[in-house]
Amino acid sequence: MRSLRAIGKIPGEIASWLGERFELEDSVMAVLRHPVPRDLERPIGWWYVLGSATLGIFVMQVVTGVGLAMTYVPAPNSAYDSLQFISHDATLGGVVRGMHYFGAGAMVVLVLAHMTQVYLFGAFKFPREANWLTGSLLLLATLAMAFTGQLLRWDQDAFWSIVVAAEQAARAPLIGNWLASLVVAGSNVGGATLTRFYATHVFLIPAAIFGLIGMHLYLVVKRGISEPPVPGIPVDRPTYRARYAEMLHRGIPFWPDAAWRDAVIATAAVVVVVVLAAIFGAPQLGKPPDPTNVVADPRPDWYFLGYFAILALIPPATESIVIIGLPLFAFVFLFLVPLLWPDGERHWSRRPAAIAAVALPLIAYASLTVAGIASPWVPKLEGGALPAGVTQGLSDSARRGADLFLSKACFACHAIEGAGGRRGPDLSHVATHLNRDQITARIATGGGGMPAFAGSVTPSELDDLTTFLLTRK
């Protein structure tokens, strides 16, 4: 019994030996125990956990990413097969890829949530401007990781996404062509493209992220965690530091008084990602990246669908401004936030404009994402059929017209009784508001975004089509 108890003491003794010999008490523990405002003991402390949760997921991304790199072959002729192997044959490969995939989504969500909290709490204000600036760079790096990661999936979507990225880069003034050449590493997507994206995704951006996280955490400890904002107590630059130092005299140590909450939420985040990965596994790969297969339907992952949608919905004339200008404006604004508003009220209830600055883009982007999921502007390319009820009991001419409705691709953009594309108007009841001459004219000359079909249908075909559409009352 006594010997058992002696054995039980060994881990503690090893820990204290290590702590002493490596001087951890003066370094790591001293940093971990840095004082934080006593208010964080209250439930409001739960708002201060999002940065740690992001860090937890980031570590998971590094670990799973290293694991994937052990098997992934970053060559255009093998990447797709190696991903199939990871997803279906490698032991736990599907789970690891799934963790990396859901982890990427979690990173984007958590970084934005963390930023929103910091913004609404006014925590970016003096003297923590540089915390916000390094954080903004980390947001950029996270989005760059999300994008380059999707390309490494190297299926048909990934291939065309690179083409689209190059085309967008080419819209930049003056240096557009250079940027596009650098994106594809040459004059076309080819053998040199994938390895560059790979090196960027696994070396360049992660190196930047490690450095930025180091700076970010150094500043968090050095400047101290911001106290929960109180309406009516603004940041006053000449007196703030003294007031904050006074507050810390009555503070609590971060470890473990505040850190336990961070650990709880970080654990929850990792659990959610691992469970999602265990249930759903790795995301399905699309078709192989064959540039000669033009039956494609390229879509970005869900967090970029809103941006995908905006490119379809804005007037073409404004496009180059939106592609280059909107992201540029968003990031310049992001970097200016702490420089333009370093003092004043911190509490969100005294900053209605700040609430609007969060809510409006959020609502706009959510709406765009919904639009991106539905993509009603996309013609329905795959074959289909009209519902039996539509084609029953038609005259010969109308029956030929119904066939033409499919073969002449009217169906790609127009729906009848629920079948067909949603790009143009639904024609289920077109005959109630258009007569024969109007329908004929519209098919022949198009207009309002519709192509003119005079060159591709014969007069008798046009007649049959119109006869068919006149049955739609």
Binding site: G176, L182, N188, P291, V294, P298, P379
Partner: protein, 166 residues
């Protein structure tokens, strides 16, 4: 005063040596990474197929292969093109289109029945001659220069459309 000058000299020396290290490492790697900018774009004629394979009035998908691809390029060395045979012979005989939509580069799909090219990304539509019929594309489909050599059709290699067109 002497001591200060010595220190100033030594700090300048150290900064300078560090800058030299940076340049020695940085310049070669910079040139290596920016190399794609200085490489001449492809400008060769590559075979598309026999002229008899393209019936007058039809539009067909063909694929041409990069004449000197990297060994590991796999299918990325292939490029798809839409070939439209307009006439039996003469300078108006063919139109060869890049498959890339002029909006953002997605591959357009030929609908033979409707005689339209449709784009799956943001809904661009083109007529059979490549002119815009609807949607966001700012200009007609990019056309490639072609040549007839005996009974063969040749097409000129090209970089990604906008990379060239700006």
């Amino acid at each position: 005063m002497n001591e200060m000058t010595r220190r100033r000299f030594l700090s300048r020396l150290t900064v300078m040596l560090t800058a030299i290290i940076g340049a020695l490492v940085g310049l070669p790697i910079l040139g290596y990474l920016l190399a794609p900018l200085f490489r001449a774009p492809p400008d060769e004629l590559v075979p598309v197929g026999a002229i008899a394979d393209f019936p007058v009035g039809e539009t067909k998908l063909v694929s041409v292969r990069d004449p000197s691809p990297l060994a590991w390029a796999g299918q990325t060395a292939d490029t798809a093109l839409w070939v439209r045979r307009r006439e039996q012979s003469g300078p108006q005989m063919f139109q060869i289109f890049n498959v890339n939509c002029t909006h953002l580069g997605c591959p357009v799909n030929w609908q033979a029945g409707a005689k339209l090219f449709l784009c799956p990304c943001h809904g661009g539509v083109y007529y059979s001659d490549g002119t815009v019929a609807g949607g966001p594309p700012p200009r007609p489909l990019f056309e490639r220069e072609w040549q007839v050599s005996g009974d063969r059709l040749l097409v000129r290699q090209q970089p990604l459309p906008t990379v060239k067109q700006g």
